[in-house]
Amino acid sequence: MKRSPPPEKGDSHHVPVAGGDTAPATGRGLQTNGDCHLFPRSTGFWAEAWRRFRRRKLALAAVAFIGGLVLTALLAPAIAGTKPVLCRYKGRIYAPCLGYFRRDLEPAIFTKDRFRGTYPRNLAEKDPESWAVWPLVFQDPSRSVRADEWPGEPANPARDEGRPSRRNLFGTDQAGVDVFAKMVHGTTIALLVGFVSMGIAGSIGIVMGALGGYCGGWVDILTSRITEIVMCIPTLVLILAVIAVIEKPTIWHTMAIIGATGWTGIARLTRGEFLRLKGAEFVLAARAAGAGPVRIMLRHILPNALAPVLVPITFGIASAVLLESSLSFLGFGAPPPTASWGSILNDARGNLAMWWLVVFPGAAIFLTVLAYNLIGEALQEATDPRLREARK
């Protein structure tokens, strides 16, 4: 990259470049001293942050763990279930396993032909030509597997008998339902609770904080007071109250309430960032160029404010997961048949001898919360400008 020297005319007003008298090599031209061509390629902020994030092996492992959970949630019916992933029946191909996501996705023909949820025997009896691809583990998350349901296999044990075995990896609960299947299908809830509630909280928090910080004046007073009021609401008690009032409470109500009360920290942080960046010179420069308030907020301030705000969102996900588990443990969580990890813990309350009902879901909750916290911490370090300068 070559710098072209300036036009040589108009010497009279030139200041002699320092050092020019004694070191003619420096000259008095406009050569700049930086060597930006030495950089292999241009890196933006997020690429740079990812580079630092990657250095932390534990955080990478945590990301991999959460990625694994996402895969588990998406593939749950193919991992554990009693409905074929794919099957050919009376000349057509079906995917009955989708019924685990939503009941009406299960092809109607199986209801019409009175399968009643048991596929292996019915498929063989009603269409000898049929074939099927089965889930990895033939266990159902909402009911006990009966004897001979899978030809030659015994029924699931129930109560104290259901300790972990080859057939039931994580054991079975009081009613003989396979715990592994329950947990695999409960992954969806564990993930959704975190992402949906913090999606709501993040949106509210960023909008409130941005408005308060940027507009100032009475807008700021209003948003700050609302934030303080919401901060005083005890989330757990509110959820219990709402669940008591609503006729058919679902997990979505819980998520909505966690989101609607969990945005205060995010709003305060966003407000602070907007307040700080509002007076930054690059924002003034944008205003001098004629940029309006929307453009300044979205293009100039928000991208610079987002990194610090992501950190409390990540920690928020962790606490939302924990909160949902506590609710389920208390018996106010997802209504059956959807099982969440917390509700499995709840089953263990009756009989502590069934240690597998405590250990496996407990470990899953613990690891998930730990993973989010590790990610949040690494994110904080990777995006902190002070640490960034120091480590270069």
Binding site: V17, C36, S42, A288, A289
Partner: protein, 357 residues
């Protein structure tokens, strides 16, 4: 001088409210700019000097309406800047741009140089995308950079290069007027000279008009046609650059000049040390604002705000300077010499008193 000045500022006031308590009641105001008037003819440069906190940055920002002035008028090329709004103001903004002091803070770290330069062009709907690219390339080349910089982020450049990018951002809109808010103060001395030369070249080529704000008198001297000295929100002295540097009339200007290191012994001046700090602009002193620190202050200075005294286009707000000018029959050189003499004597007296006690 039949042409009207490009920028005309009259009696500009910019006060910042000081708020306190839960209801954020207004308890006072910081008078950052408190009655400043000047005009800048097209193609010339007004240098604005003063200590930090004297309000010079606020003057620059008020003209561009980056802070809202409290009172006064600003005319730019005939239109009243403070009265325009909306699309009209946006059109005006394209014609007057600003370069900030800190090249680390004035470029958005999340945007590439291309995005930074292009923003103004996009806002003002200038040209086609290809034409915009050409304009950006030209602006970079004028500042001594190349188009290769476009794809990079600000943190990949040195301080001097960043300041060139900031100048290119201002130039790409092809403005007529540039506010240079301490554009070289944050740079190394060797790079300072390069950037000052660049600014001088640009003015020569493009017929630009500058308001050059700085606390560095030697830098201002090189670039300015006229120089104004500011103290606590007001101009204390304003004259053609050569005149001001030859015959400074305000004791504050004399003190500032005496602090500039000189290599040439003939130009070396007696060092005048001012006592105390700049008073708070929230509660400016009565009378002459400089009197608590002025070695020449008399009782009239404590009571009466000195009016402007004019001599040969040289403007000064000082009772003592007015008296000296009177005695010298309006000859600024003789008056300046007399004032310098008085200051030197008062300095000796202070030193002697200090030694005696």
């Amino acid at each position: 001088m039949s042409q009207p000045p490009l920028v005309a500022v009259s009696d500009l006031h910019t006060h910042f409210p000081v708020r306190k308590g839960l209801l954020r009641r207004r308890v006072g105001s910081v008078r950052a700019v408190d009655g400043v008037s000047f005009s800048i003819p097209r193609g010339t440069t007004l240098g604005l000097v003063g200590e930090s906190g004297c309000g010079k940055t606020t003057v620059g920002r008020s003209i561009l309406r980056l802070v809202e002035p409290t009172a006064g008028t600003v005319h730019f090329a005939g239109s009243d800047v403070l009265a325009t709004r909306g699309a009209q103001l946006r059109r005006l903004r394209r014609r007057m741009q600003i370069v900030f002091q800190d090249p680390y803070g004035s470029l958005n770290p999340r945007m590439t140089v291309r995005a930074i330069l292009e923003e103004g062009l996009v806002i003002h709907r200038v040209d086609t995308p290809a034409g915009r690219l050409e304009r950006m390339r030209r602006a970079l080349e004028r500042t001594g950079l190349t188009a290769a910089a476009l794809a990079r982020y600000p943190h990949e450049f040195s301080g001097g290069q960043r300041q060139r990018i900031a100048i290119a951002r201002a130039l790409v809109l092809e403005p007529e007027f540039l506010v240079l808010d301490e554009p070289v103060s944050a740079l190394d001395v060797s790079i300072q000279a390069q950037v000052v030369n660049l600014l001088a070249d640009l003015r020569e080529q493009g017929g630009l008009t500058y308001l050059f704000i700085s606390h560095d008198l030697s830098v201002v001297e090189h670039l300015s046609d006229e120089v104004a000295v500011m103290y606590l929100g007001r101009f204390v002295e304003h004259a053609a650059a050569a005149e001001l540097y030859r015959a400074p009339l305000h004791p504050y200007t004399l003190a500032l000049f005496s602090a500039v290191p000189r290599i040439d012994p003939a130009r070396r001046r007696r060092r005048i040390v001012l006592a105390g700090d700049v008073p708070s602009p929230a509660r400016p002193p009565a009378g002459c604002r400089f009197h608590p620190r002025c070695p020449l202050a008399e009782s009239v200075c404590r009571e009466v705000d000195p009016p402007a005294t004019r001599a040969d286009g040289h403007l000064v707000h000082c009772h003592m300077a007015a008296r000296a000018l009177d005695r010298a029959g309006g000859d600024t050189d003789a008056a300046a010499a007399a004032l310098a003499e008085m200051l030197a004597r008062s300095q000796d007296a202070t030193l002697a008193a200090g030694a005696g006690s």
